[in-house]
Structures are given as structure tokens and as C-alpha cells.
């Protein structure tokens, strides 16, 4: 194992000093664009996904603004249908799937392993450019008529609409390869590049989460690629696969689509859970209770994620027996989810808790994910799902999981690792104000949607009946608070970059390995290859020097 870390090829053109801080080791725009350093690739991903988040957020605010009043508010029906579709497509494919694994994971995963880089640095750079290439197709689609099918591209509507479906589908198809390559890279890195002493039982839970996610990325994404390719073939060649006019079956598309897209939900949420583990351990100064159970629950979610796609089809005309099986399997997801929540709460007990901004996001995650998970019980129960399916209740449910879960995890992780990545501290007061606005705004936006959904408001509606107006108004006002929160956060990070105080090596006093190397990390991550002698959360075994915040 000791030799493993020295086998990474480093093909830097000018052989810069590996002990120099990675931000200063080389200069100039080209040193970023063709870098093989996982940290710089992580930063490039970070900037890209944040841009995508801004675009997706813009569409979200536009959709909410349109729904503020009945009838025409700021756009017509066709523009609205494009706006909600683009919100979904951009948020899912360009932001949330690459957010934690490709941006934070790229930066942190090799350092937590004690490695110098990922196993295949060139492949890592390639996967970034594949992502950019796919994003270009998506961008082209947006300016050439955009898409009005919803992010699910359900047939036969996606066959008949005149909007720019094919470029968008190709974009998602191409970005899938980026996801697969990142997954492969992480799997090999975790297996082969762990530092001496970094055994599987000492791995940070962030790694366990990303490892599970990578398995899903590698196994599920090809199914999406095949499905989208079949869609293109049907549209171009008239092959009868999904369109009943050509002898196809539209429900088959839904099976294929969700066979990827349900596991994709776990590609999104498992990394969020992974980040929360790291934050809770650091801010309670305590190991996560039930380490092995939490680690295995990530793998269990990855596995179960493949078996529950049918719960998106309960009212699609699937057989009653199939709905029964999928309902039963869906309930099993509650078990690993519950294991995580119970163990996190147990970790707080007898910890030494400090409520800094990353911890606020981690605790918000537990609260919001609990609501997201419990409202999943309603939807798993067949009789109730038949009423709630395709209403705003579902919209609110998955936003509690995707935003209340993944985005809270992503933003919490960004706050947590920001000093390590940039070498700068940020204004904690401003960060707390931003958190407060995000937390309040999010709940106002989506609690209103739960209620109107259970009262029967269908989703993807440009206009609505008068009885729903009050809920739409409240929800839209919530979206403004939420938007203000994210803008405050953006300003806070920009101020930090411009004039933030210099961060010490370990500003949180964490025992984890990534905080033991200088801040920002040297090009080779560590001055010398570390030997791991204790777990990342063993505060009782860590020395005073290791935990020092100075």
C-alpha cells in the first residue's frame, strides 16, 4: 500500500515545486485549462456548477413569478412550459448531479485518502471537458427554441413538439459520459491510492458516500444514454419504440427513463449525506455513531435505488402486481435513510457542539431531509399516491430531498471546505444571515406547495383555479426570500475572496486528514506521504497539535 501513492504519473510541463501551494504553483490561464491537478479541476467544476445553479435559479424565480397571479403575469403558456423545463434540466443535469461529486469530491476525495491525485488525472480533465461539451449542446438548445417537454422528456409528446428536443437530449447524453468517467476514476482511486494505514474501516464517511455514488454513476448512466439514443433514433428514423403511432409503447420510455433517473436521485442525495457526516463529526468533535452502519447504509441506498423506479409509474397504466412490488420495495428505502438520521442525532448526544455556518447547514439537512423522507411515505403508499401523484405535493417532496438535502449538503460542504480550497476565511455573521434567509425562504416556498398539492393542485400548470391563489402567492414570496439568501451567500463568498482573512491550517479544529495538510494544500497535497494511524473522527486519539486551530 505504501508504494501506491508514488505511482501516480504527474505530467506537469514545467515541473513546479510539489510543495508549493496549488494556487501559486503555476500561473496563467493555460495552467488552469490544461491542469491535471484534481484540486484545480475541482475548482473549475465548482465555478461551472455554480453558473448552472444561477441559470437554473433564474428559471425557478421566473416560474414562481409567473405563478404569483392567475392568468398571464410575465410570460405566455409556451414560455412558461420552457421555463419550468429548463429549470429542471439545468438543475438536474448541469448542477446537482456534478455538484458534490465532481466539484467538492474532486478537491477533497484524494486529500482525504492521503493521495497525491486521483488515479487517472488525464481522464479527470477529460470528464470536465465532456461536461462542458454537453453543456454547450444544452446551451444551443436553449437559444434555438428551448425545450417544453419537462425534464423527463416523456414520449410521445417529446416526439411531436416542435421545440429543440434533440440538442438538449444529446447534451444530457454527453454529460452522462462525464458522470461515468468521474465515477470510474473515484472507484479506482479509493481502491488503489489510499495512504499507508488508510484502511477501509478508517475511511472518512464522505469517501464511503462518494464510493457508493460512483457505483450508481457507472452502472445507471449507460441506461440513460441508451434511452436518449433510442429517442433520437425514433425522431430521426421513425423507429417505432415509444410512439404508439409507430407501434411503440410510451410506458416503456417511462420504465427506461426512471431506471436511470431514480438511481440518479441517489447520485444526488448520497453525496449530500456524505458531506453532512464530515461536518457533524467536526462540529461535535466526535466520531459518527454507528460508523459501519452509516457507511453500509450508503451502499444499501445505492443498491435499493436500482429496484424502485416503478414508483414513478403507479398511475401510468402499469399492472396492479407491479405497483404492489414497487410499493413494497420503495418502503425499504426508509431503512437506510432512517439509519443515517438516527445515527446523526445520536452523534450530537454528548458531543461538543459548535454552531458555525457549516453545522447550521448540516442540521438543516437533517431536519429538511427528515421531512422529505417522511413525505415519501405518503407517496410510497399506493392509495395515497394515486391522489398525490403529479401534484405540487410531489414537487414539494422532491425539493425537500434535492434542495433541503443535496443543496444544503453542497452549500454546507462549500462553507466547510472553503478555507481549505481558497486559503481565506469568510464573514461568519454574513454567512449566518444567508443561512437564515435560505432556511426560512425554502420552507415558506415549499410548505405552501405541500398544502396546495394535497388539496389537488396539479404540477406543470401555467394557470390555476382561484382556490389555489393564496398558496401560490405565499410560495412565490418564499422564493424571493430564498433567492435573497443565495445572493447574500454569493456576496459573502466574493468578499471573502477579495478581502477575506487568511485561514489557518485547521480553522475548525478538525481531526480529519484534509485539515492536517497546509492551507491551501500544496500541489502534491501533502509535504510527505502521510501515514494514517487513527480514524478521521478519533478526537480522543488526536494530538493537541493536530486539533490546534492556529
Amino acid at each position: 500500500m505504501g508504494a501506491a501513492t508514488t505511482t501516480v504519473p504527474r505530467a506537469q510541463p514545467h515541473h513546479p515545486d510539489p510543495n508549493e501551494n496549488y494556487l501559486k504553483a503555476e500561473r496563467g490561464i493555460m495552467s488552469w485549462l490544461v491542469t491535471l491537478d484534481h484540486k484545480r479541476i475541482g475548482i473549475m467544476y465548482l465555478i461551472s456548477v455554480l453558473l448552472a445553479f444561477a441559470v437554473g435559479g433564474f428559471f425557478a424565480l421566473a416560474v414562481r413569478l409567473e405563478l404569483f397571479s392567475r392568468g398571464h403575469t410575465i410570460m405566455d403558456a409556451d414560455q412558461y412550459n420552457r421555463a419550468f423545463t429548463l429549470h429542471g434540466v439545468v438543475m438536474v443535469f448541469l448542477f446537482i448531479i456534478p455538484s458534490i461529486p465532481a466539484a467538492l469530491g474532486n478537491f477533497i476525495l484524494p486529500i482525504q485518502l492521503g493521495a497525491k491525485d486521483v488515479a487517472f488525472p488525464r481522464l479527470n480533465l477529460l470528464s470536465y471537458y465532456i461536461y462542458v461539451f454537453g453543456a454547450c449542446f444544452a446551451l444551443y438548445s436553449m437559444v434555438s427554441g428551448a425545450v417544453d417537454t419537462g425534464w423527463t422528456f416523456y414520449t410521445p409528446y417529446s416526439m411531436r413538439t416542435t421545440s429543440s428536443v434533440i440538442p438538449m437530449v444529446l447534451g444530457a447524453f454527453i454529460m452522462g459520459f462525464s458522470s461515468i468517467l468521474t465515477g470510474v476514476n473515484f472507484l479506482v482511486t479509493v481502491h488503489k491510492l489510499r495512504a499507508p494505514g488508510q484502511t477501509w474501516t478508517k475511511l472518512p464517511l464522505f469517501i464511503w458516500g462518494l464510493y457508493s455514488t460512483s457505483i450508481i454513476q457507472v452502472l445507471a448512466t449507460p441506461v440513460l444514454a441508451i434511452t436518449l439514443l433510442l429517442l433520437c433514433l425514433e425522431r430521426f428514423l421513425g423507429l417505432g419504440i415509444f410512439d404508439p403511432k409507430l407501434g411503440g409503447d410510451p410506458v416503456l420510455f417511462q420504465h427506461f427513463f426512471w431506471f436511470y433517473s431514480h438511481p440518479a436521485v441517489y447520485i444526488m442525495i448520497v453525496p449530500g449525506m456524505a458531506v453532512v457526516n464530515e461536518i457533524i463529526a467536526t462540529f461535535t468533535r466526535r466520531a459518527i455513531v454507528g460508523y459501519m452502519f452509516v457507511a453500509m447504509s450508503s451502499l444499501a441506498l445505492a443498491l435499493l435505488g436500482f429496484l424502485v423506479w416503478g414508483h414513478h409509474l403507479f398511475v401510468s397504466g402499469m399492472s396492479e402486481y407491479a405497483t404492489m412490488v414497487f410499493s413494497g420495495l420503495t418502503f425499504l428505502v426508509a431503512i437506510p435513510s432512517g439509519v443515517k438520521v438516527f445515527n446523526w442525532v445520536a452523534t450530537l448526544y454528548k458531543g461538543s457542539i459548535r454552531l458555525e455556518s457549516p453545522m447550521l447547514y448540516a442540521l438543516s439537512f437533517i431536519f429538511l431531509f427528515t421531512i422529505g423522507g417522511l413525505t415519501g411515505l405518503f407517496l410510497g403508499m399506493l392509495a395515497i399516491d394515486v391522489h398525490l401523484h403529479d401534484t405540487y405535493f410531489v414537487v414539494a417532496h422532491f425539493h425537500y430531498v434535492m434542495v433541503g438535502g443535496t443543496v444544503m449538503g453542497f452549500v454546507g460542504g462549500l462553507h466547510y471546505w472553503w478555507p481549505k480550497m481558497t486559503g481565506k476565511l469568510y464573514n461568519e455573521g454574513m454567512a449566518k444571515v444567508a443561512w437564515f434567509l435560505v432556511f426560512i425562504g425554502f420552507n415558506v416556498t415549499f410548505i405552501a406547495q405541500f398544502i396546495m398539492g394535497s388539496r389537488g393542485m396539479p404540477r406543470r400548470y401555467y394557470d390555476y383555479l382561484p382556490e389555489f391563489e393564496i398558496f401560490h402567492k405565499v410560495s412565490t414570496i418564499g422564493s424571493w426570500i430564498l433567492g435573497t439568501g443565495f445572493l447574500t451567500m454569493l456576496a459573502m463568498f466574493i468578499i471573502s475572496l477579495k478581502s477575506g482573512q487568511k485561514s489557518t491550517r485547521n480553522p475548525w479544529g478538525s481531526a480529519a486528514l484534509e485539515w492536517q495538510t497546509p492551507t491551501p494544500p500544496p500541489l502534491a497535497n501533502f509535504i510527505k506521504v502521510p501515514t494514517v494511524t487513527r480514524g478521521p473522527y478519533d478526537y480522543h486519539l488526536a494530538t493537541e497539535e493536530e486539533l490546534s486551530e492556529q
Binding site: 398571464h72 466526535r286 452502519f293 410499493s327 442525532v345 454528548k350 457542539i353 417522511l374
Partner: protein, 311 residues
């Protein structure tokens, strides 16, 4: 257990709705209590175990029994939830013996209903109180979903296959129908109304058919037909751009057709466009196909009278 005017749920308008609501409220109270406990424990820990100088976190020990309890304990609970959900689902999915069959056809963007006697209606269905009804649903174009919140039921309308739902209306009055599966431009306009009548009134309706209310002016009747037949999902009356030509200022106008000819909008053109919409297509409106509408002469006259008012 549940009050009929529940804040979270719509009115119960079918015999099966109450059962679904009982389940909903059961899971709701469970979730609320569970969340409250989690939050209470979190707040207790945050306050009680906040970081103090000199006080260290207690190292984590092993408690296998506790782990096993909260890993496998919930299995019992979720098994119960699964069972209840499936039981009520099956109960609501099966049509009672002797149910009246109503054919439902979804198309962009209206619902067409056919009664057992063969007569049809668009976007408006009348049902007798207390009689089980089975809806046999299909689609003529893309996916739709026939959603009746008052009955807590929905089912997709899938082109190329039949699906069905069944319920028994238990209250006189109106039930709202939505399309719940996204189907394009006027998805949110694909609404219908179910009126529940006493069995006597329903029989009278079947015998006599739909007539204009006595004393209603033709243009007023035309305005109601404009909405009832879902003309409003494709044709605006205020000049707004929609999939079909606007009716504002249409009457008497010289319209250019897709084949290059010119037509004056008069009685004959309107009648032909309702009965055989594909005969003449206005230039610039070729992407969406309007289906034929089988309206009677008095109804067509009423629509024409209404159009004349839209200057």
C-alpha cells in the same frame, strides 16, 4: 377520525375518498410526531452539549443492540404502511358490480365523455348520485392523466391502450377534473366539470340532452359553449397568441389560408371549420390539429352569434 373540511385535503365526493383521507391523516400525524421528536432531541443536544472550555466530547462507544433496533425496528412499521396502502388501493381500483361505464377520451386539450347510450359531451359530464361509475380512459394523441381530486383518483390516458378507474359519487354538486400529466401548451386549461345529479334528474338529462337554459341570449349561450367545448384552450377572445387563430375581430375578416387562397370569415366558413376543421387551415397555424366537433345547428348558430360580439 377526519373532519370533512380538512385544511390539507379537498372535499370528499366519492364513497372511497374517506378511506384514503384516514390513511393520509394517519401518516401525517405519525410524521409530525416523528419530526417533532427528532427536532426536540436535536435542540436539546445543541443546548446541553454546546462547546464549553475544558469539556470534551465523549468518545463514541459501540452499541450494537441500539443500532440493530433502529435498523430493523422500522421494518414492522413500514410493513404496516405498505399493507394499508395496498389494501385501500385495491379496494378503490376495483369497480363495483353493475357499474355504469363512461368512455373518457383525452386529447390536446379537452376531455370527451361518452355515455352508455352513445351520446357524447366535451368537458362536462353528468353522473347520478350513489351509482358506481367505471371510467374507461384512452388518449388520442399524447399522455394525459384523468384526475378527480374529490374521488382521490387519477389514471394516465395513454395513447394505444385503455386504462380505468372507478368510484361512486356520494354528494350532489360539482367535482373538478384536471389533466395531471403534462401535455403541452394548454395543459392547465384541460379541465372538466362533473355534475352529480339525483338519479331522476340524471335520467331526465339522458332523455332530453343538453339544451340552452331558457331565456338565454344566443351570444351568451355561445360564450358558454366556447368554454364547454374547450375552444378556449386554443382560441383566445382577446387577441392573445394561442395554438389557433384568435376570435377577436375574426368575424367578416379576409383570412389567408395555408394553401395560398383567401377566405371571408362567414357562417359557412365557421360551420365548416367546426365540423371539418382540416378543410381550410389559416396560414401560420399548421402545427396543431383541431379535432372535429359534432355540434348541432343551434349550437353553431350560438357560437357564430358570440363571435360577432368579439370586435
Amino acid at each position: 377520525m377526519v373532519s370533512p373540511d380538512n385544511f390539507q385535503l379537498p372535499e370528499q365526493l366519492s364513497t372511497g375518498a374517506a378511506e384514503v383521507d384516514d390513511l393520509y391523516m394517519f401518516v401525517y400525524w405519525f410524521s409530525l410526531i416523528f419530526t417533532a421528536i427528532i427536532v426536540a432531541v436535536m435542540i436539546y443536544c445543541i443546548v446541553k452539549f454546546r462547546r464549553r472550555p475544558g469539556v470534551k466530547a465523549e468518545p463514541v462507544g459501540h452499541n450494537l443492540v441500539m443500532e440493530l433496533i433502529w435498523t430493523f425496528g422500522p421494518v414492522v412499521f413500514i410493513a404496516i404502511l405498505f399493507h394499508l396502502g395496498f389494501k385501500v388501493y385495491v379496494h378503490n381500483a376495483v369497480a363495483a358490480e353493475g357499474a355504469m361505464e363512461i368512455r373518457v377520451r383525452g386529447r390536446q386539450w379537452l376531455w370527451e365523455f361518452q355515455y352508455p347510450n352513445g351520446s357524447t359531451a366535451t368537458n362536462e359530464l353528468k353522473l347520478p348520485l350513489g351509482k358506481p361509475v367505471k371510467f374507461i380512459i384512452s388518449s388520442d394523441d399524447v399522455l394525459h392523466s384523468f384526475y378527480v381530486p374529490g374521488a382521490r383518483l387519477k389514471r394516465d390516458a395513454v395513447p394505444g391502450m385503455y386504462t380505468n378507474i372507478a368510484f361512486t359519487p356520494n354528494r350532489l354538486g360539482h367535482m373538478q377534473v384536471f389533466c395531471a400529466e403534462y401535455c403541452g401548451t394548454s395543459h392547465s386549461g384541460m379541465l372538466s366539470d362533473i355534475t352529480v345529479l339525483t338519479p331522476d334528474d340524471f335520467q331526465k338529462f339522458l332523455d332530453e340532452g343538453d339544451k340552452p337554459p331558457p331565456g338565454m341570449a344566443p351570444e351568451e349561450y355561445g360564450a358558454t359553449l366556447y368554454k364547454k367545448n374547450a375552444c378556449n384552450t386554443c382560441h383566445s377572445v382577446d387577441g392573445a397568441k394561442m395554438p389557433g387563430p384568435t376570435w377577436k375581430g375574426l368575424w367578416g375578416k379576409q383570412e389567408s389560408m395555408a394553401d395560398g387562397s383567401t377566405v371571408t370569415v362567414d357562417e359557412n366558413y365557421i360551420k365548416e371549420s367546426i365540423l371539418k376543421p382540416q378543410a381550410k387551415i389559416t396560414a401560420g397555424f399548421t402545427t396543431t390539429q383541431m379535432p372535429p366537433f359534432t355540434l348541432k345547428d343551434p349550437q353553431i348558430d350560438a357560437i357564430i352569434a358570440y363571435m360577432k360580439t368579439l370586435k
